[in-house]
Amino acid sequence: MNWRLRVVHTTGYRYATAVTQSYNEARLTPRHDDRQNLMVARLETVPAARAYKYTDYWGTEVNSFDLHTPHTELKVIAASVVETSDQTPPSAEVTWVQLKSPEVLDTYAEYLEWTSYVPKHRELSTVARSLRRGSTPEETVLAVSKWVHDTLKYQRGTTGVHSSAVDAWQAGEGVCQDYAHLTLAMLRAVGVPSRYVSGYLHTKPDAAVGEKVVGESHAWVEAWTGEWWGFDPTNDISIGHRHVWVATGRDYADVSPLKGIYSGDAATAIEVTVDMTRLA
């Protein structure tokens, strides 16, 4: 199935006192690949700023901008139109032995390493190994995703932006970011190269053309089992026309949608809204 989607993502910060200076980087522009075609993308800020665009190490488009007028709220609106299709099931498949080959270990080293969001954990590794038993790497990816889906309860507020996979697992609940990190921790434990994907999810499978729905700023994972392919552990579904991807990296830190430095008192995130409209 092919969809054309308009995504309007509004995010930002509210500050306790006026901020006179802020430096920000937004990673909010959908990417282009054989499943997804970016037609147009625009970034606006309030107060207005001139953005400088560059492509980072991970291939993500970054909009960098700074503000020098006093403001108590920063609003960033990223709007885009993308065409999406369903992911074709992975055709190439590797064996466990191939995953352990020096070439694979070297090429995908970054996606097998531990990070502060995706730390090594003995007990999780044991669970991951038990899920691997008797399965191919591809089946293991699905089994781990299902396990994470069944183990965590989707709950906002328990975990925060800095919570690790282990934090979420110990709390027993979390949001899509935590589902993704926990899946990565287990896949890396059994030697499957895997990465974090940041993007959007359209929440209504049977949406009519022209209908605007409340979407989500979303995260899922991609694993390499001969080729890269994605899976959504939060919803236990494969990647399809409702998924719009923006960035991939080792974990959230590499793809953080909006980060900034400002002078002034504490900031609170303003309510994030993602409006998604099926256009075709």
């Binding site: 430096y23 400088y52 980072d56 190490y57 070297d106």
Partner: protein
């Protein structure tokens, strides 16, 4: 009389029972006696009484304290001890060393350009990708930043030692913020004050014009501006190298600034002054990458400048040295220098490395663990001599702990045989004794030429038998004399017309470039 003093000064110098007796002594050949390079120096020292030596040494210490040259040792400021016997390098030795340093800088420049660009060397299978991605100082934030004149290593400090045969070998490369050049200049100034007679008898190449070369390189790096504005960015007065930062800024005639003096707006860097904002084109920074820009690195750092990295990415400012150079001086990547040289320049190293075992390769790790008690193990990221374990000196318990550390993080460790660094006579008590030295020559790249300051920082390990020369480990330093080739036009120290000595030959084509400080020294001697 002179013979008697000589016996006192050099009494038991080449005692065969001394520690590391196989080390190359730079003054004495065990068979032929005093080496040519040191003949004149030796002849000058010989007639000295031990009491003279002490007087001169006290004069040196006083001069150093007067000049305020200190370094921070575990948080305490101390004068950096300068030994009164200079280290002498002949013109031909120097020219070989210089060529080797230049070659190395050129190869490392090409390497860094590639690593932060297309990574062709990885794609071609010459280096494993993991070698790069696992390096702590491979900063992905620097990917895609292309400096206008291509230079990333504006200043390099290539640490070399002389092995048992007297051959120079590279111990490590320093491509981030190599420090110590102020000691080179200040040591020379002090020595010229205390030993004008020695300079009169030698043709020592001048080091006082370092800042001229540095400024030229920094200006050449600027992004298409006719009169670029260069600043020196320091972490502040509490930094152990603040003295050097201020000296270099003063000698270059540029502003010494801290992070809070700079401001990024729309990817342009400005200096806040009492007369408004002034655009900055080149930031010679002496702040580590991690603290340079809170947007990209440690977010709560107040030392750096928010927005600096993207200003450099946009091509509006040049950061010198470039961000992420640490991937070029990682001690594991160092072991691949022969491959790097061959890949980019098609050359073999003019200066060999010290033999090094890589703990991250299983076979080499096995050998290291097996011979831990005879090897030196070093952290790949380390500097200042911290974390180094000398196998022969370590207790079984320490070795066991080290074994665990290596197994836990093989990428983090390399091992080397105990290099018996060469020795140079050094004042210990009232005598001259062999003490181990290394050398850090400083290279400045302006994009066309790589200039190597004729001299460099010779560090000396003061305790008997010690092979650790870092100032942070209580080492001292020596003035390093590179002799001018005979009948050359090279500038020599204290060769101005003000000094009437028989040795002056009017064969120089260039006028000596001496700073005002040196002129002062000359007046005092007359």
């Amino acid at each position: 009389m002179s013979r008697a003093s000589s016996r006192q000064l050099f009494d038991g110098y080449l005692d065969p029972r001394r520690p590391h007796a196989e080390a190359y002594d730079e003054m004495f050949d065990p068979v032929d006696g005093v080496r040519t390079a040191y003949k004149r120096l030796h002849d000058s020292l010989q007639p000295l009484q031990p009491a003279d030596l002490t007087t001169r040494s006290e004069a040196l210490d006083r001069a150093l304290v007067d000049q305020g040259i200190t370094f921070s040792l575990s948080g305490e400021e101390r004068p950096f001890p300068l030994d009164l016997v200079p280290r002498v390098i002949t013109a031909s030795e120097w020219s070989r060393l210089e060529r080797g340093v230049v070659q190395r800088v050129r190869a490392l420049e090409a390497f860094l350009a590639d690593i932060y660009g297309e990574q062709q060397i990885v794609a071609d299978g010459v280096l494993p990708r993991r070698l790069i991605t696992s390096c702590e100082h491979f900063h992905r934030q620097a990917a895609g930043i292309a400096p206008p004149n291509g230079v990333r290593i504006h200043v390099a400090g290539i640490d070399v030692v002389r092995d048992e045969q007297g051959d120079f070998r590279v111990l490590e490369d320093n491509l981030r913020s190599p420090s110590g050049v102020s000691y080179v200049m200040e040591n020379r100034r002090t020595m010229a004050r205390v030993f004008p007679d020695l300079f009169a008898k030698h043709r020592v190449r001048a080091v006082g014009d370092y800042a001229v070369h540095l400024l030229r390189s920094l200006r050449a790096a600027a992004p298409g501006v006719t009169d670029p504005n260069v600043v020196v960015l320091t972490p502040g007065v509490y930094n152990s190298a603040y003295f050097e930062h201020s000296l270099l800024a003063r000698q270059m005639g540029v502003e010494l600034v801290e992070g809070r003096d700079l401001l990024a707006r729309n990817n342009v860097i400005y200096l806040r002054t009492t007369e408004g904002e002034q655009r900055v084109d080149v930031v010679y920074r002496r702040i580590d990458d991690e603290f340079l820009d809170p947007v990209q690195f440690v977010p709560d750092s107040v030392l750096g400048v928010a927005g600096l990295v993207n200003a450099a990415r946009a091509g509006n400012v040049v950061i010198a040295n470039a961000i992420g150079n640490g991937v070029g001086d990682d001690k594991l990547i160092y072991t691949y220098l022969p491959e790097i040289l061959k890949y980019y320049l098609g050359e073999t190293p003019l200066l060999p490395n010290v033999d090094t075992y890589r703990c991250w390769l299983p076979a080499e790790q096995a050998e290291v663990l097996d011979r831990l008690d005879e090897l030196v193990t070093k952290p790949v990221e380390g500097s200042g001599g911290y974390g180094i374990v000398f196998g022969p000196d370590a207790s079984p318990k320490e070795l066991q702990a080290q074994r665990r550390r290596i197994r836990a993080n093989p990428r983090g460790w390399i091992a080397q045989p105990v290099v018996q660094l060469s020795t140079v006579p050094t004042k210990v008590g009232e005598r001259l004794q062999p003490r181990h030295v290394d050398l850090r020559p400083f290279a400045v790249n302006d994009g066309e030429d790589v200039f190597v300051l004729p001299g460099g920082l010779t560090r000396v390990a003061i305790p008997e038998g010690s092979l650790i020369v870092n100032s942070s480990q209580g080492g001292g330093s020596k003035d390093t004399w590179v002799l001018a080739p005979r009948a050359s036009g090279e500038d020599a120290e204290l060769r101005g017309p003000g000094l009437a000595t028989a040795a002056v030959k009017p064969d120089r084509t260039a006028t000596p470039e001496q700073g005002p400080e040196l002129n002062v020294a000359q007046q005092q001697q007359q």
